[in-house]
């Protein structure tokens, strides 16, 4: 099947990120079109018609999020691009920030025009070094060229963008935590309602969109929302940037049109598994999505509904391929250590539950596991489900129950024999 490209449309070179090359690729043409030929309402209508859903993990329709912002309501609106890419396995937004920062900036200015935003923010994770420098450089270029500032392209439209660097915190990728972090505080998620589009940054209506989601806006304005909706499948319009890592021969970022077969992606595009090993499992969309076995994923397509029916999700597009011979008990230990480390501590079930999960998996790995530990891991996972302000507690529960559901026998073996069935291996096993 064909595989449309909307974002990764050019070969990456050492200068792909510059304004000169972005312009040579037709860059900022969509901004000219939006500001000179369209009303803000027309831009919003195109985004609505595109049917685009959020690429950060929750797949919320962008148009519906935007629809809560009321024009002329007498208060400032804010827009935040979420560049706090931290879901383990996910590195797609980094590709945009490093290679096409102007695509993000152009799309932000168009979105700001549609949403009556005077000040927009890019919240970028603190560890991103090169992505930050590329984005900051692009920002300077865009101001100098008149694509940002008090009178953009002489149309009278004004918009400023502030690049805000995080300080190292997974939970700040959650939209309300992100906003609280931009307020210069601990990145604590907030209870809804009120939704952020009603009361967000400094209590004003705020839209938070993922970098990849926003970056599609330039294409949507260029070609129309209707054309966008015809890419992919009717329920999954557009493409997804899939970042694949793990025991795979050609890890990296790939643009995949919705509906594309997983088997073809893994075995043809990505060159199959290291050392010609079998595919034990795939974590499809960041470690907070449930693992699927190799046999399950091979019959699926890049389609939200199909993935959901299989009990998982495309999440944030962070795919991790796991080869036969990998110890899933120790893999879960790595995950639970992470969730424990990143719990913000606000909600008791998550603050305590992450510690419990981590201690139980540690004791299993140390050969001190008890026969009731598997059920205990399950019950703590359920305890978190829906009882916390943000989804992190749920996510750790999905990761835990996902691995237990598919590889329970390995846990039973480990507890009974006090050792791993696979020598505790995580790095790629040699082929037998």
């Amino acid at each position: 099947m064909p595989n449309a490209r909307l974002l990764m449309t050019f070969p990456v070179t050492a200068t792909s990120h510059t304004l000169a090359e972005y312009r040579a690729r037709g860059g900022y043409g969509a901004l000219e079109k939006a500001l000179r030929q369209m009303t803000p309402q027309q831009v919003t209508a195109e985004v609505n018609a595109s049917g685009i859903q959020g690429r950060g993990g929750a797949a919320f329709p962008m148009g519906r999020k935007w629809g809560v912002i009321h024009p002329n309501d007498g208060q400032p609106h804010y827009l935040c691009a979420n560049a706090d890419e931290g879901e383990p396995g996910t590195f797609k937004d980094r590709w945009i920030l490093e290679n096409a920062p102007h695509l993000l900036l152009e799309s932000i200015v168009i979105a700001a025009y549609a949403l009556e935003v005077r000040h927009a923010f890019v919240y970028i994770r603190g560890e991103f070094d090169l992505p930050y420098r590329r984005l900051a450089g692009a920002l300077e270029e865009a101001y100098a060229a008149g694509y940002l500032g008090a009178d953009i392209l002489g149309t009278g439209f004004a918009c400023d963008i502030v690049v805000y660097r995080g300080g190292g915190s997974y939970v700040c990728g959650e939209a309300s935590a992100l906003i609280t972090s931009i307020e210069g505080k601990r990145g604590y998620p907030r209870n809804r309602p009120p939704r952020l589009t009603v009361r967000g940054l400094y209590q004003r209506p705020t839209v938070v969109n993922n970098v990849e989601t926003l970056s599609n806006i330039a294409w949507i304005v260029d070609h129309g929302g209707d054309a966008f909706s015809k890419v992919g499948t009717p329920k999954n319009p557009g493409t997804r940037l899939i970042s694949i890592s793990g025991h795979i021969n050609k890890p990296g970022v790939y643009e995949i049109e919705a509906g594309y077969p997983w088997a073809r992606f893994i075995y043809e595009d990505c060159g199959g598994m290291q050392n010609r090993l079998g595919l034990k499992g795939v974590i499809p969309g960041g470690i907070s999505t449930k693992v699927l076995t190799g046999a399950e994923i091979e019959s699926l397509h890049f389609d939200s509904q199909e993935m959901e029916a299989a009990g998982s999700s495309l999440g944030s597009g962070g795919t991790i391929a796991i080869a036969d011979g990998t110890c899933m008990v120790r893999l879960l230990q790595v995950m639970l250590r992470f969730y424990h480390h990143e719990s913000c501590g606000q909600c008791t079930p998550c603050r305590e539950g992450m510690g419990w999960l981590h201690r139980i998996i540690d004791r299993i790995v140390d050969g001190q596991g008890r026969s009731e530990d598997i059920e205990r891991l399950y019950s703590i996972s359920r305890l978190n489900d829906g009882t916390t302000i943000c989804g992190m507690g749920d996510a750790a529960g999905y990761a835990t129950s996902g691995i237990l559901n598919k590889f329970r026998g390995e846990f039973e073996y480990y507890i009974e024999h006090k050792r791993s069935q696979f020598d505790g291996r995580l790095a790629c096993p040699k082929s037998s």
Partner: protein, 154 residues
């Protein structure tokens, strides 16, 4: 931090009016870039300059993993230990670093040259395993590449 105030004023001018509280993170980052950590007197200075409560600054410092209240080595090596890096051999990389430096994660070499940390996912999964040195990414690491890297940290 007084000498940084002109820089802070430039930062301030980029934010909308009323966003003084937002300057806490960027100011702390700039202070730490200069001093290597955030000292008591920096907090005093920032409370006076921004007019935010002292507890807000203390909370931020203790929440975000990148901020430090005490000095570390001249070179800060941080090795990712999350899923994708583990699948690509980060446990071997961390063990090799510990042996080569004679320290454990969280410690600094006795000469004050190198501090070793383990960190969570750095979005470098496709080029795993990754370590950073003072923030700069070094990707697709092997034990041999670690040795070559350590030789440059004089």
């Amino acid at each position: 931090m007084k000498h940084l105030i002109p820089e802070f004023a430039v930062l301030r001018s980029r934010f909308p009016a009323g966003f003084e509280s937002s300057l806490v993170l960027p100011c702390l980052r700039r202070i730490q870039e200069e001093r290597g950590h955030v000292a008591d007197e920096d907090i005093d200075g920032l409370v006076a300059y921004l007019g935010v409560p002292r507890i807000q600054i203390e909370e931020v410092l203790s929440f975000y993993t990148e901020f430090r209240r005490t000095p570390i080595g001249r070179f800060h090596i941080a090795a990712c230990r999350n899923v994708s890096c583990s699948l690509r051999g980060s446990e071997e990389i961390v063990a090799h670093l510990c042996t080569a430096l004679g320290i454990e994660p969280g410690q600094t070499t006795p000469d004050g040259r190198i501090t070793l940390s383990t960190v969570e996912c750095l979005a470098s999964c496709g080029t795993a395993p990754v370590v950073t040195v003072n923030g700069a990414y070094h990707e697709d690491m092997t034990a041999a590449k670690i040795d070559a890297l350590l030789a440059t940290l004089a």
